[in-house]
Assembly symmetry: C2
Homo-oligomer: 340 residues x 2
Amino acid sequence: MKIAVDAMGGDNAPKAIVEGVVLAAQEFKDIEFQLYGKESAIREHLIDETNITIIHTDEKIMSEDDPVRAVRRKKDASMILAAKAVKEGKADALFSAGNTGALLAAGLLIVGRMKGIDRPGLLVTLPALGGGVNAFNMMDVGANADSKPENLNQFATLGSYYAQFVRGIQKPRVGLLNNGTEENKGNELTKQAYALLKENHEINFIGNVEARELLNGVADVVVTDGFTGNAVLKTVEGTALSMMKLVKKATMENGTKAKLGGLLLKDSLTGLKDVLDYSKHGGGVLFGLKAPVVKTHGSTEKEAVYFTIKQIREMLASNVMRDLVNYFETKADSKEEETK
Amino acid sequence: MKIAVDAMGGDNAPKAIVEGVVLAAQEFKDIEFQLYGKESAIREHLIDETNITIIHTDEKIMSEDDPVRAVRRKKDASMILAAKAVKEGKADALFSAGNTGALLAAGLLIVGRMKGIDRPGLLVTLPALGGGVNAFNMMDVGANADSKPENLNQFATLGSYYAQFVRGIQKPRVGLLNNGTEENKGNELTKQAYALLKENHEINFIGNVEARELLNGVADVVVTDGFTGNAVLKTVEGTALSMMKLVKKATMENGTKAKLGGLLLKDSLTGLKDVLDYSKHGGGVLFGLKAPVVKTHGSTEKEAVYFTIKQIREMLASNVMRDLVNYFETKADSKEEETK
């Protein structure tokens, strides 16, 4: 399998990206890496070039660039060349830690949508801290600002396939994020989406789930529109960070007793941090395109790059893309037949 | 000032409600309390009846009742009689820990909207853990499932008046919850709301704020639609609870060292819990009605009841209701003039 890597995207590029790729390349001999970016800067961090090829380019997309304009004008940017490689079949997946908007645009405009998918969505894997499961997927967390009920229905199928094929969950429980658990709850969008999800025989729909229960593992796949999903994801991050700060403050500013307590607890609280560092589950997948397009935070470190490569490898090794393409193509074809 | 209290609403009613009222009645001699509910059950928890009147009724609305149907049919329910007292001018505000949907319906159908307000919203005060402020307001957190841009604009004015008059913040910073901080970010609703907020001269609009920054005190008033606000509020609660559980687990399951650390830290971590227990800031205000209608969690304890009474007292003592009525009436009148 071949992965096209935007070596220049993200705050710590190319160092963190290249070091992460090297970590992954040492472990996964079945991957061929294509690193797009400034050759001399990339080579500084390469210790071994087995299964790694560098494709040099001087141009790159900056975090402050306007996404769509950047994709249209910076035709030789590392991210764009990597996307083109996927489009032309020279690579099977695209990885970048760069400008999120630009990556979404490159995914849509260059890699292209899967037949039968109206709008791809961004899927993340978050830690579950209860319910006997250790993670759940949420989709869409921000690829689309406005969605229609049918988009949510497609996110549900995509997310369910991901949980099943990539994470190995049998019959993933798919829940709709809503403002109450009863069937009649919701806004116009979720009420209509509920009706579609109920009739979607590809998924194991368990009904509405509330935001309060997400981290308790109430569902394996949580379906939501990109605006709400984005707000919820950022609220989880913000609240967890604030709590960690408070715990730290509690140990530092409450005298010797608390300080000693903090020292004794240090190892256990590091474990706590680990649980919240969801980069172990990989990056965000722009899902619904012809090939996996995966992003990580701009501030990503080499470990996160490694875990994301591992996630892409699992996606490519599984049948998830092939089966999804079959499913949505057949569905789209039968719709075309109907309208003839 | 007179407060009509639904003594039968909530899981711990009437005990927690009556005990909370007694606490408040001892401190605030300027309040006359009207307790609506089963007289014998209420009297069990009354130690002193100075400035407390009981209005007996056997009927009450249950948590599982359909809200609108309950309001229409249970005409003698404690919550309904309390709402009617406000409508008829026998009381200045309504407090209940009962069925939220029914309270929203009673507020709308019985107490009635402020002239010029299309949709009242639910306003809460949450703790801020940074930014030099100790709290912020968010509105709407769930009174409406779908909102229009003009509703958000009204929430902004209502929230800003609340922060200024009740919490004493000079020129409260009003932010729009959005999926990015740039002006052009957002879904259709927030983009249009942004344009209105920018032109709203009653408020100090600081632009878009992201969910990740809310607890950092990025704004004094955060404006959002009820669906997103509900999801964000529940995500804060769920994440904070999960983190507290993890901290507890870290101290309990990691051997003697961690256990000792936990013991030494206990007092400091109790402080942490306090910060997150936002009932100190009072309950949720259904804001935009002719009088304050305030709710607390169904599982509310007497302390939360006390703090909510205190909050209602601050609302009544301030000019917030009078000034809001003036502002929106004048606005509504000038609109009527225009359309004549």
